[in-house]
Structures are given as C-alpha cells and as structure tokens.
C-alpha cells in the first residue's frame, strides 16, 4: 500500500501576471489561517465581554490571566518594561502558532505545515531584530558589528545573521511537518496491521482500520500537543530573546 504525504491543497488560482510572485493561490494554508484568526479573535471577544472592575467572572479571570502571563513573559525574559510594545506581537505570534499547530487535531491541515507561514514570521522577526540593532548602534554600528572581532569573520557573521530566520523557520516547520508525516505513517501502518490481523476472520471487517481508533490519539499527545505547544513557545521565546539582545547592542 502507498502512503502519500502531500503539500497544502490549492482551492483556487488567481493569475496576477506579476513575474516573480506568480499566481495568487487560495490554498489550505490560507483558509485554515483565516479560520485560526477567527477562532482567536472570537475567543478574545468572548473572554473580554462584559468585563467588570469588581466581582469578575471566570472568563474575565482567564482573560486577565492571559494578559498578565503575556506581560510577565516579556518582562521577565527581557528584564525591563522597554519591550512592552512587543507584547501584542509576541502574543499574536504565540497564539497563532499554538492554534495553528493544534488545529490539526480536528483534521484540518496546520497552516504551520507550510514553510511559507514560518518563513513569513521569521522574516518579520528578522526585520525587527535588524531594526532593533540599527536603532541601538546606528547603521554604521550595525555594519561594523559584522567585522568583529576580526574583519576576516565578516562572511561568517553575515551567514550567521541570515541563519537566524532560516533556522527559526525551518525548526518550526520541520517539527510540524514531521508530526504530519509520522501521523500519516502511523495511520497507514495501523490500517495495514488491522487488515493483517483480521484478514483470516472476515474480509469486510479487515477493511475497517479498527486500530486507527485510539492509538494515534495517544501518539498525538507527543507529536501534536507537545511539539505544537513547544515549537510555538520556542519561536516566541527566540523572537523576544533575539530582539532584546539586539536592542542591548
């Protein structure tokens, strides 16, 4: 039997005629991204409805806890209040990443299983890091930073600078994709195992992959839940650490 792991489905193709960018495609990644955005925004609106100063409800307590956690996360990791402007950005990055990773649990394809998504985030973070560095040391200071400690190191420094977004994007993408690949393999192999066990009992029963019920859920605790939350955390953590380091000069 064949196991096929495909990229995101393309629902529609809108020709733009722009040479490098090519056609605009409405694909699974974008559609599920919009679903994720609707879920997050709906959750935010739901949690912050009817907020009170005193005698708060459970959902308000959750909303306040989320905000406090985000504030503390940034402030504790940077050690200052200077990066409070970044809190909504990092919060958006983290929630989008978590929900995108976990949405595969309901059968949708994770937007994070498309390298375009992670590349987009990593490039945004890279631009933020670079602008923080330029803000801290000026354009010349930024340029000079590449020639340290000795000018011979310049190419390697440039390479390591560029490696930052590439590694961030590929780390996240690789983890999620590997989860999808392994899940696909497990489903397929369990179906094969079921038919192998039941083929001598009844041919019709053997066609139903009984072992696919339950067992993949246990494995998904690691491959979906743990990896999904962990990668989102790592991505946000690296974002804030890189930017904080860059701002220190």
């Amino acid at each position: 039997m064949n196991v096929e792991i495909n990229g995101a489905k393309i629902f529609a193709r809108i020709p733009t005629g722009i040479p490098v960018l090519g056609d605009f495609t409405i694909n699974e990644t974008l559609v599920v991204s919009w679903i994720v955005m609707i879920i997050i925004t709906g959750l935010c609106i739901f949690l912050t409805r009817n907020m009170k100063v005193e005698g708060i409800s459970k959902k308000q307590a959750i909303a306040e806890m989320l905000v406090e956690t985000a504030n503390n996360f940034i402030r504790n990791n940077t050690g200052t209040n200077k990066f409070d402007k970044l809190i909504p950005f990092v919060a958006a990055l983290f929630t989008t990443s978590v929900i995108s990773n976990l949405i595969s649990l309901v059968g949708l394809r994770s937007p994070t299983a498309d390298l375009s998504t992670e590349a987009a985030w990593a490039v945004v973070v890279f631009i933020m890091i670079t602008s923080a560095k330029i803000k801290a040391g000026g354009v010349l200071g930024y340029m000079k930073g590449f020639t340290e400690p000795i000018p011979v190191m310049t190419p390697f420094n440039i390479l390591s600078e560029l490696a930052t977004p590439v590694s961030m994007a590929c780390r996240h993408f690789g983890n999620i994709l590997s989860g999808i690949v392994i899940n696909g393999l497990i489903y397929a192999s369990l179906a094969v195992a079921t038919s192998a066990i039941l083929i001598n009992v009844n041919a019709t029963l053997a066609a139903i992959p009984f072992l696919d019920v339950g067992i993949p859920a246990i494995l998904s605790i690691y491959f979906d839940w743990f990896t999904g939350v962990m990668q989102a955390f790592i991505f946000s953590m690296l974002t804030i650490m890189y930017i904080a380091n860059a701002a220190e000069g």
Binding site: M37, L66, P111
Partner: protein, 167 residues
C-alpha cells in the same frame, strides 16, 4: 485536487501570512489587551483611590480624636473650676450665714439688754414715784401738815436721789 509541493515557499502565501500576522496582532491588541489593560488600570486606580481615601479618613479621625481629647481636657478643667467655685461659694455663704447669725444674736442680745435696762429704769422711776408719794404721805402724816406736792417737789426729789444713792 491540485496540491502544492510539500516543502516550498509560495510568494503570495508568504505575503498574505505576514499581513495575517499583523492583522492578528491588531485584533489581539484591540480585543484582548486593550479591554483587559483598561480594566486592570481601572482596578489599579480604584485601589489607589481606596487607599488614599482610607488614609484621609484616618487623618480625619486622628484630628477629631485630638480635638475631642482637647475638649475633654478643657471640660475637665472647667468641671474642676466649677466645683472649686461652688465650694468657695458654699464656704463664703456659710461664713456669711454664721456671721449674720452672730450679728443677729449680738443684736438680739443688745436689744434685750437695752430692754432690760429700760425696764429697770422704768421700774426704778416707778419705784421712785411710788416712794416719793409714800414719803410724802409718811411725811404728811409725820408733820401733820399737808404738804403740797408741787411746792415740795424739789425737796422730795433730792430726798429720793439721796435715798437712791444710799441704797
């Protein structure tokens, strides 16, 4: 259905995801952070206000207590003054009453003495008159001669006064 390659970067998806990220950031900011931070700020303000109110109330209470204590001390002093005044008044009055009584007693005594003296004088005068008359009667009888009282008044008086002196 057409699928894209497993590992690829589609330029438009890439751009769309950047925009999505920023839209998501705005939405989270607008619908989660803004209202929650507003509520937190309100609560902070409320707490601060309550603390400052409590401090104010405490200061007021201290002021009132000080005032009250001052008033109490004043009232105590006043009470003491009233009591001592009353004591002094009572003493004065008692002294005055005793003095009045003494004076009155003295007056009564003096009056009584005067009365007694007067009565005595009156009695003596009456006695003198009676003695005078008696003497005249006796003398008349002795000299067998009518002595006219008017003519011999002087003589009789002399006699009586001599009798008085002798007695």
């Amino acid at each position: 259905m057409e699928t894209q390659p497993l590992v690829t970067i589609i330029p438009w998806t890439f751009i769309a995801q950047i925009l999505n990220l920023f839209i998501q950031m705005y939405l989270i900011k607008r619908f989660l952070f803004k209202p929650v931070n507003e509520i937190l700020a309100k609560r902070q303000a409320l707490t601060d206000k309550e603390i400052s109110d409590a401090r104010e109330a405490k200061a007021d209470a201290d002021k009132i207590r000080e005032e009250y204590e001052g008033q109490m001390a004043g009232a105590k002093a006043e009470a003491n003054k009233i009591i001592s005044d009353a004591k002094k008044d009572a003493q004065d009055q008692a002294d005055k009453m005793i003095k009045d009584a003494e004076t009155a007693a003295h007056d009564i005594k003096a009056k009584a003495e005067a009365d007694i003296e007067q009565e005595k004088k009156k009695a003596i005068n009456e006695a003198k008159d009676q003695i005078g008359g008696l003497a005249m009667d006796i003398a008349g009888k002795v000299v067998e001669k009518e002595i006219r009282e008017e003519d011999h008044r002087k003589l009789i008086d002399d006699f009586i006064s001599k009798v008085g002196e002798a007695s």
